[in-house]
C-alpha cells in the first residue's frame, strides 16, 4: 500500500490537540514540559472545557505555558500560583482552575501557598513538574534535587550536611485532609504518558465533583541542565529518580 493512500483524512488517528496553539514551544528538545502541555490540552479538549478552564502559570520554565495552551491564563509571581487559583475558583466555582508549577516554584518558594491551598481543599487541579533542578535560571539545586546530584549550586553533588535532603513534598501533601487525589506520574514513554493523561483527567473530574484538591506530580527530565541527551535523561530518570520518587497513586478518595 502506498503511503499516499494511507495519509488521508479518513485514516487520521492522531493529530495535535486543537487546544494547543501553533506557537513553537521554547522548551529544549525532549523536555517533559511539552508532553505534559500536550496531555493537559488533550484533556481540556476531550472534556470540552476550553471555555471554562483558567490556567495559572508559574515562574520557571513553564512561565510561558500561556503561549502554548489556548485558554485564559494568569501568570503568577514565583510560588504564588495556588493563591491565584484559590481566589479564582472561589469567585467562579463553576470554572476549572489549574495551577501548573515546577519544583522550585511549588516546593521551595511557594511551599506555604501550596500547603494551605491543599489543606483548605480548594477544588483546583495542581500539576507539579518535578525535574529535580531549576531549569529557567540555569540548573541550580532544587528542593527535590537528589543527594549526590550535581547542579550549578551543588557542583560537587548535593550533600545532606550542606544542602539538606530532597523534599518529597507530594507525600507531605497527601497527608493533608483537603486533598482528594495525590498521584505521581511520568511521561517518558507511551504507557506513562497515557497513565499521566488519565490522572490529569481524573483531577479535572474531581474538581467538578468538588472533592477537594487534586495534585498530580509528573517526575520529569531536564536533559539540558542534567547535561544529557533527551534519551539518556529519560533513562537516568528511570534509574535514579523513580527509586526515590516512586510512581503511582499516593491517595485517591
Amino acid at each position: 500500500m502506498d503511503i499516499k493512500d494511507i495519509i488521508k483524512p479518513e485514516n487520521l488517528v492522531y493529530s495535535k490537540s486543537k487546544v494547543l496553539t501553533d506557537t513553537v514551544m521554547h522548551y529544549c528538545p525532549g523536555c517533559s514540559h511539552g508532553v505534559v502541555h500536550k496531555i493537559l490540552a488533550e484533556v481540556i479538549e476531550e472534556m470540552g472545557i476550553q471555555d471554562k478552564t483558567i490556567g495559572v502559570s508559574p515562574v520557571g520554565c513553564a512561565v510561558f505555558a500561556y503561549k502554548y495552551i489556548n485558554i485564559d491564563w494568569q501568570q503568577a509571581a514565583h510560588g504564588r500560583a495556588p493563591a491565584l487559583a484559590t481566589a479564582t475558583k472561589r469567585l467562579y466555582p463553576d470554572k476549572y482552575v489549574v495551577a501548573y508549577q515546577g519544583d522550585g516554584d511549588l516546593a521551595s518558594i511557594g511551599t506555604a501557598e501550596i500547603m494551605h491551598a491543599c489543606n483548605r481543599g480548594e477544588n483546583i487541579v495542581v500539576i507539579f513538574i518535578n525535574n529535580a533542578i531549576y531549569g529557567m535560571t540555569g540548573g541550580q539545586m532544587a528542593p527535590t534535587t537528589l543527594l549526590g546530584m550535581k547542579t550549578a549550586t551543588t557542583p560537587y553533588g548535593r550533600r545532606a550536611d550542606l544542602n539538606g535532603y530532597p523534599l518529597k513534598i507530594t507525600e507531605l501533601i497527601a497527608q493533608l485532609e483537603g486533598t482528594c487525589y495525590v498521584t505521581r506520574q511520568s511521561v517518558q514513554n507511551p504507557g506513562s504518558v497515557r497513565k499521566a493523561k488519565k490522572a490529569i483527567r481524573k483531577a479535572f473530574e474531581n474538581s467538578a465533583l468538588k472533592k477537594g484538591t487534586s495534585f498530580v506530580e509528573i517526575v520529569s527530565a531536564c536533559n539540558s541542565n542534567w547535561k544529557m541527551t533527551p534519551v539518556q535523561a529519560n533513562k537516568w530518570m528511570e534509574e535514579n529518580m523513580f527509586p526515590f520518587y516512586p510512581l503511582g497513586d499516593i491517595k485517591d478518595r
Binding site: 494568569q74 509571581a77 479564582t88 467562579y92
Partner: protein, 360 residues
C-alpha cells in the same frame, strides 16, 4: 434617611466593602486592623451579597489572591498594617505591571521592623514612592475620619477599575481604632458574572469563549523594546491620574500667610493648631492632601504668592515634606515637624514647633 452608626474606622472599612459590592476580601490578621476581617466574618456577606471572605495563610498569599481575583474582573480587596504591607509590595508591583484593579487598606503602625502597634505615618514613602520594584505608581487615598474610611472604599474601587491599577487607602492606627459616627451610603450591588463578562471580558480571565483566543494576564515581557513600551504606557496612565485625580481639602487658606500641610490623623490634629494660631492673630491655613499620589502640588503652588512659610506635619521623620519641597521648589521656606514610633503630637506641640521654626 441614611442609617448612621457609631463605628471604628476598621469596622467602617468592612461595612463599606459589603455595601460597595466587593466580590472578595482576602486578608491576614495584624494589629491594628484585625477588626476589618473580624467584622466581615461576623457579617457573613457570603450569605447576603455573595461576597467571598477568606483568611489567607499570609499577607503574601492575600495579595496574590487579589491578583487571581482581579484577573477575573472581580472587585477584590485586602487590609493590613505596615509589616504586612511590606510583604504585599511584591504583589502590588506585579498587579501594577499586569494592570489589575484592587483595593489595599494600610492601617499604619510604627516601624521600622515589627515596631509598635501604635499609629504612625511612616509608610508614606512605601505607599507613594513604590514599595515594590520597578517604575509603578498606585493611587493613594488618605482618610482623616471614619466616614472617609467608609467612603474611600467606594472611591477606591471606582478608581481601581477606571485605571485598572491598585489603589491604597493609607490610614493609621488612630483612624482605624477610633469610633465616630458613620453614615452608610446607598448600597451598590455586586456585578453579576454576566455583567463582568460584558464589561471586562476583553481582558479578564473568565474562561475563553470560542470567539477569541485565550486572555493572558502577565507582567512579563522579555524583549527590552516591548518592556519599554509597556513602561511608557504605564507612565502615560500615571500622568492621567496626575491630571484627573488630585484631591485635597483647604482649611482657612484664603488669607493664609503660613500653611500647614498634613494628611490623615496629622491633619485632624492640625485643625486644633489652626484654631490656636488664629486665636493669636496668626493667619494660618491647612492644606490636607487626600490623594498622596497623585500629590496636590498645583494646589500648593497656587498658594505660594501669599505665603511666608509652609510646615509639613507628619507622624514620621519627614517623608511627605520631600514632595512639598519639590512642589515649592525653594519659593518659600518649608519646615517639618513630626514624631515617630507611635507617639502622637498635640495641637499645642505643633503650634510651638511652628512658632519656633518661623520665629513667631
Amino acid at each position: 434617611m441614611a442609617e448612621k452608626l457609631l463605628k471604628k474606622g476598621n469596622e467602617a472599612i468592612a461595612l463599606a466593602a459589603i455595601r460597595y459590592g466587593a466580590d472578595g476580601y482576602f486578608g491576614y490578621p495584624i494589629t491594628p486592623q484585625s477588626e476589618v476581617m473580624e467584622t466581615l466574618m461576623e457579617e457573613m456577606p457570603w450569605e447576603t451579597t455573595g461576597m467571598v471572605v477568606l483568611q489567607a495563610e499570609s499577607e503574601t498569599s492575600s495579595i496574590n489572591m487579589l491578583y487571581g481575583g482581579a484577573c477575573c474582573g472581580k472587585k477584590v480587596m485586602t487590609s493590613s498594617s505596615s509589616p504586612g504591607i511590606s510583604l504585599m509590595c511584591e504583589g502590588m508591583s506585579y498587579m501594577a505591571g499586569a494592570e489589575l484593579p484592587c483595593l489595599v487598606v494600610d492601617v499604619i503602625r510604627g516601624g521600622p521592623g515589627l515596631g509598635t502597634i501604635q499609629p504612625a505615618q511612616g509608610d508614606y514613602f512605601q505607599a507613594v514612592k513604590g514599595g515594590g520594584h520597578g517604575d509603578y505608581k498606585i493611587i493613594v487615598l488618605a482618610p482623616a475620619s471614619v466616614q472617609e474610611m467608609y467612603d474611600f472604599v467606594g472611591l477606591g474601587f471606582d478608581l481601581a477599575f477606571k485605571y485598572r491599577n491598585p489603589v491604597m487607602i493609607l490610614s493609621d492606627g488612630a483612624i482605624g481604632q477610633m469610633m465616630e459616627k458613620v453614615e452608610l451610603r446607598e448600597p451598590v450591588r455586586r456585578l453579576t458574572n454576566q455583567e463582568i463578562a460584558e464589561k471586562y471580558g476583553h481582558w479578564a480571565t473568565l474562561g475563553k469563549p470560542a470567539s477569541r483566543n485565550g486572555n493572558i494576564i502577565s507582567s512579563l515581557s522579555l524583549a527590552a523594546s516591548e518592556m519599554e513600551a509597556i513602561n511608557l504606557r504605564l507612565q502615560a496612565k500615571y500622568q492621567k491620574m496626575r491630571e484627573n485625580e488630585v484631591r485635597f481639602e483647604k482649611n482657612m487658606c484664603e488669607d493664609a500667610e503660613y500653611m500647614l500641610v498634613a494628611f490623615g490623623s496629622s491633619a485632624r490634629i492640625c485643625e486644633g493648631t489652626l484654631e490656636k494660631a488664629r486665636s493669636k492673630g496668626i493667619r494660618m491655613g491647612l492644606l490636607r492632601p487626600i490623594t498622596l499620589f497623585p500629590f496636590p502640588e498645583k494646589a500648593i503652588q497656587e498658594m505660594l504668592s501669599q505665603l511666608k512659610g509652609i510646615m509639613s506635619v507628619e507622624l514620621n521623620a519627614g517623608q511627605m515634606v520631600e514632595d512639598v519641597r519639590l512642589a515649592v521648589n525653594g519659593a518659600v521656606p518649608v519646615e517639618f515637624y513630626g514624631r515617630m514610633g507611635g507617639s502622637l503630637f498635640s495641637p499645642e506641640e505643633v503650634f510651638e514647633a511652628f512658632a519656633k521654626k518661623f520665629n513667631l
